[in-house]
Amino acid sequence: MAKKDLAVKSAVTPTIHPIIHVDPRIAVGMFFTLTGTILSAFGLSTRDRVDVYAKSLGIDANLWCGLALLAFGILMLAFGRRGQAQMEKGHAVAPEKPELRRPR
């Protein structure tokens, strides 16, 4: 199952720096890519079923929402990858970033 792979992958990711070594957007992206795919697949397979979509006023809400979520998920994954790369680079150069400005 895809789920299991994810768990193993995230659990054994090498620790770059304690605590924040996973960009949170990656998890969000994964979740919505997965859910979006499932919903659009479900929406496609049930798009002729009037009984399923009577509730949503005859609109195939699963398909449209699924597609929207899929797009959002892929976008988040892209941002997350970029953020992750930057974070790893940043930690390699200067692991302890000094505080920029002390407030009064």
């Binding site: 789920k3 994810l6 768990a7 995230s10 659990a11 990711t13 620790t15 720096h17 304690p18 605590i19 924040i20 070594h21 996973v22 949170p24 998890a27 969000v28 994964m30 979740f31 919505f32 997965l34 859910t35 499932i38 919903l39 479900f42 929406g43 049930t46 009037v50 399923v52 979509y53 009577a54 509730k55 949503s56 006023l57 005859g58 609109i59 809400a61 699963n62 929402c65 979520l69 959002f72 970033k97 505080e99 920029l100 400005r101 002390r102 407030p103 009064r104």
Partner: protein, 604 residues
């Protein structure tokens, strides 16, 4: 009643899996107490902002907003904007920089609000607040656990599971409390605050994804914006502003909601502020409330509109419905339970133990407004999307409970364990204390939830507890951060006086049509506020003012502290920074304030 299809279950389970995996993936990084309690103070500002917003949208808030919308109309939108946005901006500009930058004599940054109180005032103030805060956080965690579990149980989500396990009739409710509670406990124990905040980000996204389709479909069903206006009950659109919802008048409203309620939530409550204090630097910490405020402008569209739509829709009746879809005619026979039929729109009536609708003093059925939002989900979301909608409800529950749990374990570990029980505790011991506190806290919260299950009145006690703990604290923090003259004795006396005043007011006032007890009037009924809401506001405002006055007077009478000791603990003039109107924060704040006003003009 709906039984979830396998597509719904799949989405729910995937959501739960991702929630747990946040804890699993962060667990290896938790090597010290600061990692566990403060996410290592390394999180980016945008994450803190979204987590802050999300922590402020627990089950009580989301159900409460939907309920208030159904009860009071769109005016509640203005109320919520007024209650949160100015307070968030004030927090960003004034308080958060002080809390974030405050450090002990050894240079270790402050970890919690009670710790700040200990540094700024004295240890007795710290101890008082730490104990009160822990109790409040766990109590309200339990109540919000119950409030959402009640809704989930009413949707019969876990009934089949409970039947299979041959649990007693309350099994569905128990399961809907126990399963989310276990999940929250698991990821908090594993990943601490960081896991809670990662999940709050996910929660926010799931909430939008689950509720936006409901709003859009609901609006379409009602015939768009104008259709909604036409379908809403007479007088509904004028809002309750004219009819006694806030009889305290406009001044009272601004003072009560804007300053006291908003301030004591968004500027004071450590459950919310902990997210900003986990930011990676001071600039990020200030960005968090700004971002939260900017997004908060649009939150009412998501959580308030479903409530309004729910009441505007036709009430289901036991009838044969004939409808026409794509040219085909369908005959649909629906059997509606009496409670639903006695309700209005999608809001069912409250039921007694025999399943009959409960009638109020005026003979009309009393409506169960908390079911407004969940019923909208059932009404509009088809199989598949319904799973996501339920995940959104579950997400609210978990984010609120997780925020309470992480905040209370931080306060316990720093301000009770390390400060008083074991002063020479090593870092590992503090970490361990934090995890044990999370475990113990969850047990206590669950006990509170079970108590609420027995007596529904406890739901209303949250407002009182909040007024007693947070409103006076806001006054003390305000004086502490802004005024060097405020002293420890002053703050302690002020807090005690504020708490006493709140209890006294609550004990002597009783809203019309209520029984003395948890709704007030348990000492002697002296006056009658117009509603529960007016009583809560009045109590909070009184506690705030009394604490402000007493702290001021006692401080003037006691010896001031050496100003050198207060460096970094009190907000001072900021040298070297451009004039205030040039700062990006101020500009952002102005834009957000304008947006808030614009949205409100649209609705009021």
């Amino acid at each position: 009643m709906p039984v979830l299809a396998s597509a719904d279950w799949l989405i729910l389970l995937i959501y739960c899996f991702f929630v747990l995996s946040a804890g699993l993936s962060l667990a290896p990084g938790i090597t010290g107490s600061r990692h566990y309690l403060q996410a290592g103070r390394r999180l980016p500002g945008w994450l803190c902002g979204l987590a802050l917003l999300s922590a402020g949208m627990g089950s009580l808030e989301v159900l409460g907003m939907g309920a208030a919308a159904a009860k009071y109309g769109l005016a509640s939108m203005g109320l919520f904007a007024l209650g949160s946005i100015p307070a968030l901006l004030f927090a960003a500009l004034v308080l958060v920089p002080v809390f974030y930058g405050a450090a002990s004599a050894t240079g270790a940054p402050v970890r919690s609000i009670p710790e700040y109180l200990g540094l700024r005032f004295d240890q007795k103030t710290r101890a008082l607040n730490a104990v009160l805060f822990t109790a409040m956080a766990l109590f309200s965690a339990g109540i919000s656990l119950y409030a959402m579990a009640r809704v989930i149980a009413a949707l019969h989500v876990f009934d089949t599971v409970a039947d299979r396990l041959s649990l007693p009739p309350t099994g569905g409710l128990l399961l809907s409390m126990a399963l989310p509670a276990l999940l929250v406990l698991a990821f908090v124990l594993l990943g601490g605050l960081a896991a809670a905040m990662y999940n709050q980000l996910l929660q926010f996204c799931v909430l939008v994804a689950g509720l936006l389709p409901v709003v859009l479909l609901g609006l379409k069903r009602a015939g768009g914006w104008s259709g909604l206006k036409a379908a809403a009950p007479v007088g509904f659109w004028r809002g309750a502003g004219h009819t006694g919802m806030h009889p305290v008048g406009i001044v009272g409203l601004v003072l009560g909601v804007g300053i006291v309620l908003g301030g004591s939530t968004w500027c004071t409550d450590f459950r919310l502020l902990q997210t900003a204090m986990a930011a990676k630097n001071a600039a990020a910490a200030r960005r968090a409330p700004l971002l939260a405020a900017a997004l908060r402008v649009f939150v009412p569209l998501l959580v308030i509109l479903p409530g309004v739509l729910a009441l505007g829709l036709p009430t289901p009746r036991t009838t044969i419905v004939i409808h026409n879809e794509n040219g085909a005619i369908y005959h649909e026979i629906t059997v509606v339970p009496p409670a639903v039929e006695a309700g209005q729109g999608m809001v069912p009536a409250k039921v007694d133990s025999a399943g009959q609708p409960v009638k109020g003093a005026d003979g009309k059925p009393m409506l169960d407004y908390a079911m407004a939002m969940p019923n909208m989900l059932l009404q509009f979301l088809p199989t598949g999307l319904l799973g996501l909608g339920l995940a959104a409800l579950l997400a609210c529950l978990m984010s609120g409970v997780a925020a309470s749990l992480t905040a209370s374990n931080t306060v316990f570990a720093c301000d009770i364990y390390q400060a008083f029980l074991k002063k020479d505790a090593s870092d590992k011991q503090v970490l361990k204390a934090g995890r044990w506190a999370a475990l113990g806290g969850m047990v206590l919260a669950f006990a509170a939830a079970c108590a609420a299950m027995r007596s529904n009145d406890l739901l209303d006690a949250v407002v009182l507890v909040f007024a007693v703990v947070n409103a006076p604290l806001f006054a003390a923090l305000l004086l502490g951060t802004l005024c060097k003259r405020a002293t420890g004795h002053g703050a302690f006396a002020g807090l005690i006086a504020g708490i006493a005043a709140a209890l006294l007011h609550h004990g002597t006032a009783l809203p019309r049509g209520e029984q003395p007890g948890i709704h007030g009037g348990w000492i002697k009924v002296l006056h009658h506020p117009a509603s529960d809401m007016a009583l809560g506001l009045g109590t909070a405002a009184l506690a705030f003012i009394v604490c402000l006055l007493v702290t001021g007077v006692v401080s003037v009478c006691t010896k001031p502290r050496d100003p050198a000791e207060l460096a970094g603990l009190v907000r001072g003039p900021a040298p070297g920074i451009a004039a205030w109107w040039k700062r990006p924060e101020t500009i952002a704040a102005a834009v957000i304030l304008l947006a808030a006003i614009a949205v409100n003009l649209m609705f009021l």
